[in-house]
């Protein structure tokens, strides 16, 4: 007959439910078995953050009504980005003339961060030179990785809350990586954590 289950009545200290710690055939080799000390449970330390810090109205709005969400018939550069872990997808179409981004659009599917970021990106990069585009991407990366807002650009700064969610930084930069790759004539990017 098996020992009666102990699960119905946990022992003091929460240390219960142990039905057979040692194979019975060698149990006699442990005459001095002692209970383990009970260790207090850790408390998760990251402070609570209001969701509206991550999902600023700019992000929710750009996700619901993404700007420049279309194929660009005049595009001469195209690049796609995808995040294999979560499945975010963005394709960026760019019309480059000389060293200037004359027009830019995107299509895609994914989380609000990835889609809103691509939407804001197209608004920011249209009309910029390639060098200006690189500089702006650098500023955006600082915002999403360090959380330091840029007072002069409230739409980009809306993404500052992302830095508290390291797993989501790659969502925010996906469309930007695709755009920069497109202007450099590189076809595809796979997201990596910043």
């Amino acid at each position: 007959m098996n020992a009666s289950p102990t699960f119905a009545k946990p022992a003091a200290g929460g240390n219960s439910g142990c039905f057979r710690r040692i194979p019975s055939d060698i149990a006699s080799r442990y005459p001095d078995e002692k209970p383990l000390a009970v260790v207090p449970n850790p408390v998760y330390l990251r402070s609570f953050m209001d969701l509206t810090e991550l999902y600023q109205s700019v992000i929710l709005e750009n996700n619901r009504r993404p700007r420049n969400f279309r194929k660009l018939p005049t595009a001469n550069r195209v690049a796609s980005g995808n995040n294999p872990v979560c499945g975010d997808e963005v394709t960026v179409y760019v019309q480059v003339e000389g060293d200037r981004i004359v027009d830019i659009s995107f299509q895609g599917a994914g989380c609000a961060i990835s889609q809103a970021s691509a939407s804001v990106m197209t608004q920011r990069l249209k009309g910029k030179t390639l060098a200006e585009a690189e500089t702006m991407f650098g500023r955006f990366k600082d915002i999403v990785t360090q959380g330091i807002p840029d007072e002069s650009d409230l739409d980009l700064s809306a993404f500052a809350g992302v830095h508290q969610f390291p797993a989501r930084i790659k969502c925010a930069t996906l469309g930007w990586h695709a755009a920069i790759n497109a202007v450099h004539g590189e076809a595809a990017v796979t997201a990596t954590t910043e």
């Binding site: 098996n2 289950p5 102990t6 699960f7 119905a8 009545k9 946990p10 929460g14 240390n15 219960s16 439910g17 142990c18 039905f19 057979r20 710690r21 040692i22 194979p23 055939d25 060698i26 080799r29 442990y30 383990l36 260790v39 449970n41 850790p42 408390v43 998760y44 990251r46 609570f48 953050m49 969701l51 991550l54 999902y55 929710l60 996700n63 619901r64 872990v85 979560c86 499945g87 975010d88 997808e89 599917a109 994914g110 989380c111 609000a112 961060i113 889609q115 969610f165 989501r168 969502c171």
Partner: protein, 413 residues
């Protein structure tokens, strides 16, 4: 004759066995609903690991000293326990692996010399990547074809109308999940194995989502192979089990070469140890086996039928409650199901839903759940999944539904 009655488990008391659950996340009591990815561990499993390392740690099957003896006896006792856990005919039919994925890869690799161009491997459209990609690799190595049992649609059932015709297409191996990790569907494993056996097809059951939830009896199922992971059934990560019928194991090539798996080694060639050791090259996860042993004892003291009834009921309640949320699209069968629910929410991507729920202390999974081809077929990029285990409560399900409702408003606005 009166059968002895088993008292109903005291689920609230069992919950106290899991130290990790006693914490707050983002200011809320933790509600852990990502059990399909991995389950939490009861104190007895944690103790088993600690005690092994504090008292018994030594390599197995090598030494003659006391600690090595204890480690070996404990490791082999875990193997015998695993054999009883799935009702294998012998402990020799139990191979310790790193988990379900390694178990399936072992079969796929070791069958390389037994397949030829024109042969076929049959899987289903609901496979986890780990029960698809190893077969793709085997097909590429051997020139065999991959065939698929279709999934009906959002209700997520296997369409078995053409199964016998599919099996007749020179199929050598038929691999399928016992419970779908994405849909919650409980597949009729015994029927599938019986129909395969009629045509001489070898069956592989992916039991990752079932072994810790349902009674699993390999002889009743009539399967040839069955793989599962310790960490999805209250055991440690890094240890899993592959059951294989002895005659098949003996005919298969080894998977990895190294110590333990050999009988004798010469510079030019070697001979193999007998099964199961032929498939366990190198030092195994000995501590993991001790921990898994404790987990199997724990689950069977509660009773897997009771666990299945408990988390299946939670999943059905979640399915019914979520159905009333505006914009929801639910996947999997509406009736009997495994302990999980997958859904899409109009206007809110799964990762946003998961981040939202996390801030409320609720751990969910969002994404493709390693079943990308299935979601492509169903026309959805990602879903949110709530998966349950023995320590989850009806109150947690209610709170999860309330938070999903809030998320729908927040993102859909």
């Amino acid at each position: 004759m009166n059968m002895p009655t088993t008292p109903a488990p005291d689920w609230a008391a069992l919950r106290a066995d899991f130290p990790i659950l006693d914490q707050t996340v983002h200011g809320h009591p933790l509600i852990y609903l990502d059990n399909g990815a991995t389950t939490q561990k009861p104190r007895c499993v944690i103790d088993a690991l600690v005690r092994y390392y504090e008292r018994d740690n030594a390599n197995v099957h090598r030494g003659v000293h006391e600690l090595s003896y204890r480690a070996t006896v404990g490791y082999e006792a875990a193997r015998a326990r695993a054999a009883r856990f799935v009702n294998a005919a012998s402990p020799d039919e139990i191979i310790f692996t790193r988990g379900t994925t390694e178990g399936i890869n072992l079969i796929a690799y070791s069958f390389t010399s037994q397949l030829k161009p024109g042969d076929a491997i049959l899987v289903t459209e609901m496979e986890h990547h780990s029960n698809l990609v190893p077969w793709q690799l085997l097909a590429r190595r051997t020139g065999a074809r991959l065939l698929f049992v279709p999934v009906t649609g959002d209700e997520g059932l296997l369409d078995l109308g053409n199964l016998d015709a599919l099996l007749a297409q020179k199929v050598k191996l038929f691999a399928f999940p016992h419970i779908s990790n994405s849909l919650g569907t409980i597949n009729p494993a015994a029927e599938l194995c019986a129909r395969a056996r009629l045509q001489g097809v070898i069956t592989v059951v992916d039991a990752a989502q079932s072994a810790g939830h349902l009674p699993v009896d390999v002889q009743a199922l009539g399967c040839d192979f069955l793989a599962f992971s310790g960490h999805k059934m209250a055991g440690p990560t890094g240890i899993g089990v592959l059951y294989g019928r002895r005659a098949l194991l003996e005919a298969m090539d080894p998977f990895q070469g190294g110590g333990e798996m050999i009988a004798s080694v010469h510079y030019e060639q070697s001979t193999w140890n007998k099964v199961p050791h032929k498939f366990e090259a190198g030092t195994p996860d000995i501590a993991g086996a001790f921990g898994l042993h404790a987990a199997m004892d724990y689950l069977d003291a509660i009773g897997r039928p009771a666990i299945a009834a408990h988390d299946g009921k939670l999943a059905q309640d979640a399915f019914a409650g979520l159905a009333a949320v505006p914009g929801i699209r639910l996947f999997g069968p509406p009736g009997e199901r495994g302990g999980l629910v997958s859904f899409g929410l109009a206007g809110a991507h799964a990762h946003d839903v998961v981040t939202f729920a996390d801030q409320e202390g609720i751990a969910l999974r969002g994404g493709h759940h390693c079943t990308q081809p299935l979601w492509r077929k169903l026309g959805i990029q990602a879903t949110t999944r709530a998966s349950f285990y023995l320590y989850n409560t009806p109150g947690e399900v209610e709170r999860m539904i309330e938070v999903i409702r809030k998320a729908a408003v927040f993102f859909g606005g």
